[in-house]
């Protein structure tokens, strides 16, 4: 199998730097997501790995071998496109056979490999259908099968679920993830949907403006965002202003804020008195009836959405909070509440680069 290493990869279009010196090491069999807002260079990065775009600078290595000068058709890559890109004049079977024919695989082996992969994507009886005779989800799975049947070194997917409806999208997430685990293929997945990146990936690469803001496992990205930009892009977040009150043991700082003094991992050596920003996720906050300690405030809005309820809270100190709770507590709009935040719910944000 294959380890991919990307080193200071850059792509310029005229004077614009679409991808600006990114480096990623992808382990063999790892599932990596490139996550970021529209235009941050995800597709461009993927196209450079696939060989559809030439890198302006930097190296791409498969198992240590630089492939920058290897044309796309020789890179041995399986690619799944946002619009599936199934060949409309070929049946499912012919679509799958195409890559195998290019590799001069003998007929009997071809048959058995196609049957096996179709089985894997649960499309056993569909081999004689044309793409336009399939539903979106089925086409998606054919595209996946076509990429996998050639047993490529690497699987690349560019927003493969963007055209599916919400329910199917969630099913396919799990489906692709399970399939990838079973096949054990090194995978790079492009998406601008943070939930998708979180559920599927071993590690997430968060990109902004052609640069990497953070690389790490989903829990790190969510719970320990590098900076404000990442925190805001990955889920919802409350930003709490505070000032450094002093040190609190090795690697810890005490920060004074509206919730009193809280202890957080100190990530840069802040001097006492420095203004900082803490992040606090909406679901970490607990609401209690008024007068039970904590910060005091008033519910200004309440949005019910089945599994959770969203609240907007105006604190007496002037800040606005976004809170998510299970619907088992009944607090109405206009109620006064006590707001509690657990000590480990705070995270000290670095300045955005």
């Amino acid at each position: 199998m294959t380890e991919v290493s990307i080193e200071r990869l850059t792509k310029t279009f005229g004077s614009a730097r679409a991808v600006d010196g990114i480096s990623i090491r992808i382990a063999d069999g790892e599932f990596i997501s490139l996550l970021g807002p529209s235009g941050c260079g995800k597709t461009t990065t993927l196209k450079m790995i696939a060989g559809f775009e030439e890198a302006s600078e930097g190296a791409i290595r498969f198992d240590g071998k630089d492939v920058v000068n290897v044309p796309a058709e020789k890179r041995d890559i399986g690619m799944v496109f946002q619009n599936y890109a199934l060949f409309p004049h070929m049946t499912v079977d012919q679509n799958l056979a195409f890559g195998l024919e290019m590799r001069k695989i003998a007929k009997p082996e071809m048959r058995s490999r196609i049957a096996e992969v179709l089985d894997m994507v649960q499309l056993g009886g569909y081999s004689d259908r044309y793409p336009n005779q399939l539903s979106g989800g089925q086409q998606q799975r054919v595209a996946l099968a076509r990429a996998l049947v050639i047993e490529p070194k690497i699987l690349l997917l560019d927003e493969p679920l963007a055209n599916l409806d919400a329910k199917l999208r969630e099913e396919m997430r799990v489906f692709i993830r399970d399939l990838q685990r079973r096949v054990g293929i090194t995978t790079v997945y492009v998406t601008h949907d943070q939930a998708e990146a979180m559920t599927m990936s071993d590690r997430v690469v968060v990109m902004f403006g052609g640069r990497i803001a953070q690389i790490g496992p989903p829990s790190d990205i969510y719970e320990r965002p590098e900076n404000l930009e990442v925190a805001q892009f990955v889920g919802q977040v409350n930003l709490i202003k505070g000032t450094i009150a002093g040190a609190a043991g090795p690697g810890k700082s005490r920060v004074a804020c509206v919730f009193g003094d809280v202890t957080v991992d100190s990530r840069t050596d802040h001097t006492p008195g420095a203004a900082v920003t803490l992040s606090l996720r909406p679901e970490a906050i607990e609401l209690k009836p008024a007068g039970q300690g904590g910060a005091q405030g008033k519910v200004t809005a309440r949005y019910y959405s089945g599994s959770i309820i969203d609240y907007r809270i105006a604190l007496d100190s002037g800040e606005t909070l976004h809170v998510q709770t299970f619907p088992n507590i009944r607090i109405a709009e206009g109620d006064r509440v006590s707001v509690h935040a657990p000590a480990d719910g705070f995270w000290l944000l670095g300045a955005a680069k």
Partner: protein, 260 residues
């Protein structure tokens, strides 16, 4: 507008357009000696005369041959030009388009005269068919170009990328992915080219050499001195040939077009 009125209106327009053809076809079955409609008695005698007329037979062969050659040449050049236009022309796109459509925009007689001067200037003259075929290629090229570039515009570049990632080289991608997918445009363009070439008068008239008259020219020559229903028979056969070409291509090649 109400539906029945619209229907009636359409029928009238069609009748107006098709009536001359019906008259010609009707007149060709004339038993009399003159080109009249309605025919004076029904007979196939003028078809017999026509099929025994060597001059007309040679003209039909010439027409078919020129149309076939011109179609192959302008089909190839037009397709390549369309490929360049859609995929590589960049900022020359508009210029390429105008150049390709120029023969359609210029009066055919101007094109014909210019070409006539040209073939004499470079010494080819009209002793061979080169000049005439070149003329036919010139006037049929825009039709191939328009049809093929229209179908190329709807060709999704990610099909090509998918084929590349699957390991297909440039030639394989063209042969197995692009060509089948733009085939409707290529066939449509070629059909147009064939029919236009088979029908054209001006270009052939200017550029024909001795004994290389096409059917429309021969018919014109004939009508200058004769006025028999044989002319109608010639026209009817020529209409039938055009129809046969369209229908056969639709059936043979078209079946696969409508598959997706």
């Amino acid at each position: 507008m109400k539906r029945p009125v619209l229907t009636l209106y359409c029928l009238l327009v069609y009748a107006f357009l098709l009536a001359p053809i019906l008259v010609v076809v009707g007149a060709s079955f004339n038993a009399g000696n003159f080109l009249t409609f309605p025919p004076q008695g029904l007979s196939l005698r003028w078809y017999v005369t026509f099929f025994h007329n060597d001059v007309f037979m040679r003209a039909i062969r010439t027409s078919l041959w020129v149309a076939a050659v011109a179609t192959v040449i302008s089909g190839t050049i037009g397709t390549m030009a369309a490929l360049y236009y859609v995929q590589h022309a960049g900022r020359w796109k508009e210029a390429v388009r105008i150049a390709m459509l120029a023969p359609l925009l210029l009066p055919e007689v101007l094109t014909a005269i210019a070409l006539l001067f040209f073939v004499y200037a470079i010494g080819i003259g009209t002793t061979t068919m080169i000049g005439m075929v070149a003329g036919h290629v010139l006037i049929t090229l825009p039709f191939v170009f328009i049809n093929v570039s229209a179908s190329l515009e709807s060709f999704d570049p990610s099909w090509d990328m998918a084929a590349r990632s699957l390991g297909a080289d440039r030639l394989t991608r063209f042969r197995r992915i692009m060509l089948p997918l733009i085939k409707p445009g290529v066939i449509g363009g070629a059909l147009f080219a064939f029919i236009i070439s088979f029908d054209t008068f001006t270009i052939s008239f200017m550029l024909k050499g001795i004994g290389t008259s096409t059917l429309p020219i021969q018919l014109f020559d004939y009508l200058r001195t004769n006025f028999t229903p044989e002319a109608a028979a010639v026209s009817t056969v020529s209409i039938a040939l055009t129809l046969v070409v369209v229908i056969v291509s639709e059936k043979v090649l078209g079946l696969r077009i409508h598959r997706f």
